[in-house]
Structures are given as structure tokens and as C-alpha cells.
Symmetry: C2
Subunit: 457 residues, 2 copies
């Protein structure tokens, strides 16, 4: 089997297929390890963690003097990205028994891929794990904006940084660069973090403002220019102007499928790849679903969930499915979590973590829903964690089954707390049983007790 | 119904009984809020959190200058203990509709209690929630040692602090006072934290030593004296001597049942109270179990689990059970968690968190056990959290049901991670389903993926 793209997803697909008895090749046009390792999760968390712990320290009486050294934080980031060298990753790939090819890979026909001059032919499957790239709106291009790549890899701190887009990338990078010394101006069409419950975005906006950022909601950029002196000028709806040294376009992602040969198998270059729950691509020319398709797509490129951990999850399922089918069996495990149990942690200050369905989505899905909220600041463990702790927790309950279908947390340190909700949702644990899952005093997790009490248990 | 002891357990018993339609009185001989609020969890965590966040900050490249101000940390502790005034707690008790009596309460007969001059008679139940006190070994008394009370409430930092006992109190107080400036000498019969998996105690010993404490394992104190100059001299097995300014006896707990009138109902003063799963005391004179006993005991005093959160859990079950029986119904919910799902977080540096059965206890209980370990330092999210992160995770699997029965975590920040294991154990979530509970990248919780991969999923 052949994998296009050696990000975390592709690596998992190949490694699981090899574990299942197949031989595998993987092709990468940039760096083995992928976007996540060099221009997304890893460098952003490497930048954000120092800012977060400094923020946490500042919130505890009796702890003083904490400060960030921007240069050292950038060095830390460089260490985690291995200075954008992938020797270690390439070695890991070869170490698990996968052939590693460098170069742009293109599908040339059924089970066939060309990488540079090498013609590869798979007996069983080809898997597209090419991920996404940043979309820059045409109106911003004249300003030569940063994308997530520059925002996570910049070697110096811009004095003034404008950020267009209030999603995860925009919010995380606003938090990081404001902490590192930039004067950040955040510009968002709507509220921040529109895909999670409203209170979370509100708390993040409060946090950014408290850190000194200028957060402007409900605005759009009508004109952008890079001036002769190198500065950026953005004209906003309403007529005001923002001047900055850099501008980050955090305005969405597009699939990296425009130049991988999709046209050779009847698919549309540049499109997201529609897959079934074994990660097999639908609509490949000449392949009925029942005939057993050979083309798979895992990770961001299939648009199920643009998150590294979900890509890896899909990668495991996909690699196992290919190995199973190679042995004439149908896959034992299929993609379940992407439908109703996708977790996400946003490493802003405060952190935001969510999993499963929001109240609105649960209602759309036909559940009889009850929403329970609790103020995290009223949890004893939270008050002990940070003086004046501010945060909120929400669970969404399916009243018919009395199980959780969603949860959202916002507050310092909630990132490691969401997995309890993920287990409750994945395990379909009834509330009556959750009542016996006692959280320890005095942890912030005791909010689970308060939520269930508030529910009426 | 009448409750003896207004700690968190007694407060929960009374509040739940009132919610269930009963009237309730609660008697407290010291401070409403109990040991936990003034001389245990709350002040210890108030002291430890500043030390923990300073330790976390010191482990992140790019964060500098963090220091503890001991005087301000002690002020913080005083704020959380309300300067050992219980007005707010007493007000809370009255606010939920419970009559509050100050004074020593003694059982005088069936359903009868005397508090000072007040004779109280319950229609339904009397509940003992008097908790425990520290046990000081006779050999230490001459040194006039601190107990947990002085260790959590001391107003100045001893220059040299010896600690006898390597359990939770000893380890937490060693971590706190070493961080606040004491030179701590820890003296333990055996290894540290003997009730949790060995690796956790080893990591805590390493942490204490790295912080500068002198940790001596396998030693006992043969002689102790308070000298004329106020210092303490401890002679140890092996013949060496430790000189300190204070010594903490962290050597176990005894039930506070010696002066509550147990003899009036055929029970032994000073004994732990044996209870059934509705928290009803067994062996009360003249009361067959089937006849429906009127005496209950919840929290530490029944020796099921000496933990505030388990006391509160029992308190909820007990209060509900009393209210149910008052209406002629049997309780719908009984104590389940104390048998196999007790969580505990130890706020040392590193933190330790455990839930359920250790491997040894699971084997004793007859399970066909498989233990899976994973080095937390190899989790990407852990490396990002703290440079050179050191820690370990263990799950104990019942191979017949393919469910978790125990978990232990040791490492920075694991305290909020254990609840996921608690939910998995309480929910009896099969490993095959846990596989779909995807932890977010890059959190430390991704150890769940690694544990399940290591298991073979």
C-alpha cells in the first residue's frame, strides 16, 4: 500500500498496515512529520505553554517575578520543531518498516502513484493523507499576510500584529504573540470560536483583552495593503484603519488535493475527499463501493475533523481496514468517533475544551436535550488552583438515554479535564453510573459532581 | 435526623436529608466545615498550589524569575481557611435549612443525642460524621510534635523540619515546607506512599530530593526529645541523630468516637464504625439489621476511605437513604464506589493520582489481571507541558471483562487526568469502546492512546 503525505495521519496509516502484515511506502513533498509537527499544533503549543504557565503563576498569591523571555520561548519552539528538519521523523518511518519517498506524489491510475521518477504500484490500496493548506482571502493577498505557517515559525516578535479570523488559529496565535510582546489586534467577522459554545469564545475574548489585545468583533477587512515602509494597512468595515507590522490570515483551510492526480481516477482536483467509515473514498471512477475500492483518504483532507488526533484515529482505522481487506476480511473497527465524539482543546488563556455535540447540534440531531451549566469559579479546587478562577462547564444530556452527548469547558487548565467527558460519551455511561465516578477533592474536576447535582442527582 | 460533626460529610448528609423532606440538626464541637476545611485538604492545597505552579514554571524554557514569597503563601492559606473562623460555613448550614448546634454531642440512647444542655431526639436517624484525629506514637510525644493540624496551620516556616511517616500527609507536607524554605528531613519506615503503586512513591522521593529534602527510607525513630533550646532531637534506628526545629508526626489516624456516647448503644468507644452500603452502623444494641437501624456513620469514621470526596459521596448516599426509609422506601442508591473505585490525588511534586485497584489488590480480588505501563515522558503533550517531563502511567485491566479496574498516574499535572480513569472504571467501559475515546493532541491525556496501543489495540 502507498500513502501520500507523511504527517501524523499518514504515518499511522502506514505503521498500522505494516503491523497488519502489509508492505507500505509513504511519500512526502515537504517534511516528514507534516503540518502538525512544524507549522501547527507542536510549535503553537511550544509557544503557548510558556505563556500559559506564566499566566497561571501570575494568578496565584505568593508566586511572584515570573516573566517570559521571548527569545528563549522562540528557541524552545525551534527545539520542538527540530529546526524544521525531519531526519528523526524519516528515521522513525523507516524504523517501523515503511519505505520513505521524498517528492511530490501523484496518482496516475488504479493503485498507481508516481513520486518524482519512481513509479509505484500498490497491490491493495493508495491512501491520501495530504492534509490542508491555509486559505488567504483575495482581499488580503496584497498585504502579503502571514498564514499559520509564518505565525508558528516566525523568528522575531512583530511589534504590532493584526489577526484576521477568530477561529482556533486566530485565537491561539493572538494569545501567543500578545504574551510574547506583540500588540495584537484581533479582527473577527463574528464572535470568537464560533464552533464551540458561546461562553467559551466570550471568556477567550475577555482573556485576550485582559492581556492587552485589541479584540474587535463583527468587523471585516475591506482593503489591505503592504506599504513601502513594510507596514500593513487594513481598512475595516465601518471605515476605521488598523496599521500593523504583520497581519495573519487565519481564515480557513483548503484540502491539498489540487495536484495529486485526482483527475486520473475521476475525482475533482482541489476537492475534499468524501469517505465512508472505513476511510475509503467514494466516487472513484470504475469502482463500485461493493467492488471494494482501493483509494482511501484519512485526516484533514476528508474534512471529517481537522484535528491531528482525529487524523491519527482515522489513520489507525484506515491502516487496519486495508490490512483486513488484504486478508479477505471486513474491518472490525470503523470510524465512530467522528460522528459524535470529537474532542478539541484550544490552548488559549483560558483554555477551551469541548467534545461531542453542542446543545444546538444535539437538538438538530433529534435528541431530547437538557443543558446543564456550572460556574467553575464556584468549585473549591478551582479557587485553590487560581485566585479568582473564572470559567464555566457545560454538559449536554440526551434525556431519553440519560447519557452525555456533549461537554464544553472553559477555564485555566481545563485541557486535561475534557477526556473524562470523552470517555463518558464514548462509553455511553448513564448519569446514574457517573454519579459513582467520584471526583477527588480538591480538584477542578469536582465540577463533575456539581454538574450532576445541578442536573438533579 | 441528627448529625454529629459538621465536616463536609456531615454537611452533605444533613443537606440531602433536608432535600428529601426531613428536618435535620447538626452538632459541631469545633469548627463548622471540619478538618478538611481548616487543617487538611484546603490549607494543604493552599500551601501546595503556589509551590506546584512555581515548580511547573521552572520546568518550562523561556519562563524565568518565578519565586515563592513564603509570607504571602501563608497569607493565602489563611484566606482559604478563613483565619479558622467558621461563620460562613455555619451560615451555609443554616441556609440549607439545617439547625446548627455548637458543642460536644453525645449519643444518650436510641435516636437521642445531647449537645451541651440541649436534648435532641430524632424521629428517624442519628449519623456519626466525627471523622478522625492524628495518632502520635508514644515514642514521639516527648518531642511535642506537630500533627497534621500544626503542619497545615503553622504561621512561620521552621528552619529544619523533620517528618516522621511517608504517607500522604508526610509527603504533601514535606513538599510544601521544603518549597517554603524549610530544610526537610523525611523519615519513613518503608518506601513513600506505600498504598499506591511503587513507581509513584519513587517519583515523589526523587522529587523531594531534587527539591533539596533529605529523604531517608527504612528508618524508624527510637527516641525523641524536645531540648531546652526548643530544638527536637530524634535518634534513629542505626544510631544516627536528626536535629530539627519541629517534627511532624504523620503516622496515621484514629476515629473520633471515644467520647460520643457509643457505650450507650452497645458499641465500643474509640472504635471505627462498621457500616453497610447504606452507611448504617452494624451491631447497634437492640437493633437487628432487618428491623431497620437508626444509627448511621459516614466519612472517615467508618474507615471505608479516609478522603473528603468519599465522605461527601457517602454523605449523599446516607442522607438520601435516611430520607427514603423515612418514606417507607428502601434506598435506590447504595455505596458502590468505596468497593472498587476510590480515587485519590496527592498534591506532591510530581502529583500522584490513583483510582480503583492496584495490580496486587486486583489479583487478590480474583481478577485475571493485565498491567500496562507507559512512560509519560514519551507523550508529546507531556514534553510540551514541561521540558524533560518525567512521569509514568499504569492501567490495570480485568482481562475477562476487558475493562479497567485500576489506574495510577504520577507526574506534573496528572491530578486532573485521573477522572477519565474513574469514569472508565465506574462506567465499566470496554477497552474496545475506550479506543474510540480519542484524547486530544497535544495533551498529556494522549497517554490513554499509548496505553491502549501498548495493550495491543
Amino acid at each position: 500500500m502507498i500513502v501520500l503525505g507523511a504527517g501524523p495521519t499518514g504515518e499511522n496509516v502506514a505503521a498500522r498496515a505494516v503491523r497488519g502484515g502489509l508492505s507500505a511506502a509513504i511519500a512526502e513533498s515537504e517534511l516528514a512529520g507534516g503540518e502538525c509537527s512544524y507549522w501547527a499544533c507542536v510549535p503553537s503549543k511550544a509557544l503557548l505553554r510558556p505563556a500559559a504557565v506564566a499566566d497561571e503563576a501570575a494568578r496565584v498569591e505568593g508566586v511572584t517575578g515570573t516573566r517570559l523571555e521571548p527569545e528563549a520561548v522562540l528557541d524552545r519552539r525551534d527545539r520542538f520543531t527540530k529546526n524544521w528538519k525531519d531526519d528523526g521523523q524519516a528515521e522513525w518511518i523507516r524504523g517501523v518498516g515503511v519505505d520513505f519517498f521524498r517528492g511530490v506524489a501523484r496518482i496516475t491510475g488504479v493503485r498507481s502513484v508516481k513520486v518524482g521518477d519512481a513509479e509505484l504500484h500498490a497491490n491493495h490500496a493508495v491512501v491520501v493523507c495530504t492534509g490542508t493548506r491555509a486559505v488567504v482571502p483575495p482581499g488580503l493577498t496584497a498585504a502579503r499576510p502571514w498564514t499559520s505557517r509564518e505565525a508558528t515559525s516566525a523568528r522575531s516578535v512583530p511589534r504590532r500584529l493584526a489577526i484576521v479570523g477568530g477561529g482556533v488559529v486566530g485565537c491561539e496565535m493572538a494569545a501567543a504573540w500578545q504574551a510574547l510582546g506583540s500588540q495584537v489586534t484581533m479582527l473577527s467577522h463574528g464572535r470568537l470560536l464560533e464552533r464551540v459554545d458561546e461562553f467559551a469564545g466570550d471568556l477567550v475574548a475577555d482573556g485576550l483583552r485582559a492581556a492587552g489585545a485589541d479584540v474587535r468583533l463583527g468587523v471585516s477587512v475591506t482593503e489591505a495593503a503592504r506599504e513601502a515602509d513594510g507596514t500593513v494597512t487594513l481598512r475595516l468595515s465601518g471605515g476605521t484603519t488598523v496599521v500593523a507590522d504583520e497581519v495573519l490570515a487565519a481564515t480557513g483551510r483548503a484540502p491539498r488535493t489540487d495536484d495529486i492526480g485526482l483527475e486520473a481516477v475521476g475525482l475533482t482536483p482541489g476537492s475534499w475527499l468524501d469517505v465512508d467509515d472505513t476511510l475509503r473514498v467514494r466516487g472513484v471512477r470504475g469502482e463500485g463501493e461493493e467492488a471494494g475500492g482501493w483509494l482511501y483518504a484519512a485526516g484533514d483532507v476528508n474534512h471529517r475533523a481537522l484535528l491531528t488526533h482525529m487524523g491519527k484515529y482515522q489513520g489507525r482505522i484506515c491502516g487496519d481496514a486495508i490490512a483486513a481487506r488484504a486478508s479477505g476480511r471486513e474491518p472490525a473497527v470503523t470510524d465512530w468517533a467522528d460522528h459524535a465524539c470529537v474532542p478539541q482543546v484550544i490552548f488559549t488563556m483560558p483554555e477551551v475544551a469541548s467534545v461531542g455535540l453542542s446543545a444546538a447540534r444535539a437538538e438538530q440531531a433529534g435528541y431530547r436535550v437538557r443543558v446543564v451549566d456550572y460556574d467553575l469559579g464556584n468549585v473549591g479546587g478551582a479557587a485553590l488552583l487560581a485566585d479568582g478562577y473564572t470559567g464555566r462547564a457545560r454538559i449536554v444530556v440526551d434525556e431519553d438515554r440519560r447519557v452525555l452527548v456533549g461537554a464544553t469547558l472553559a477555564g485555566p487548565g481545563v485541557g486535561e479535564m475534557i477526556h473524562a467527558a470523552t470517555v463518558a460519551i464514548a462509553g455511553e455511561v448513564p448519569l446514574e453510573r457517573l454519579w459513582h465516578a467520584v471526583p477527588s477533592f480538591p480538584t477542578v474536576s469536582e465540577v463533575w459532581l456539581r454538574l450532576l447535582e445541578t442536573y438533579g442527582l
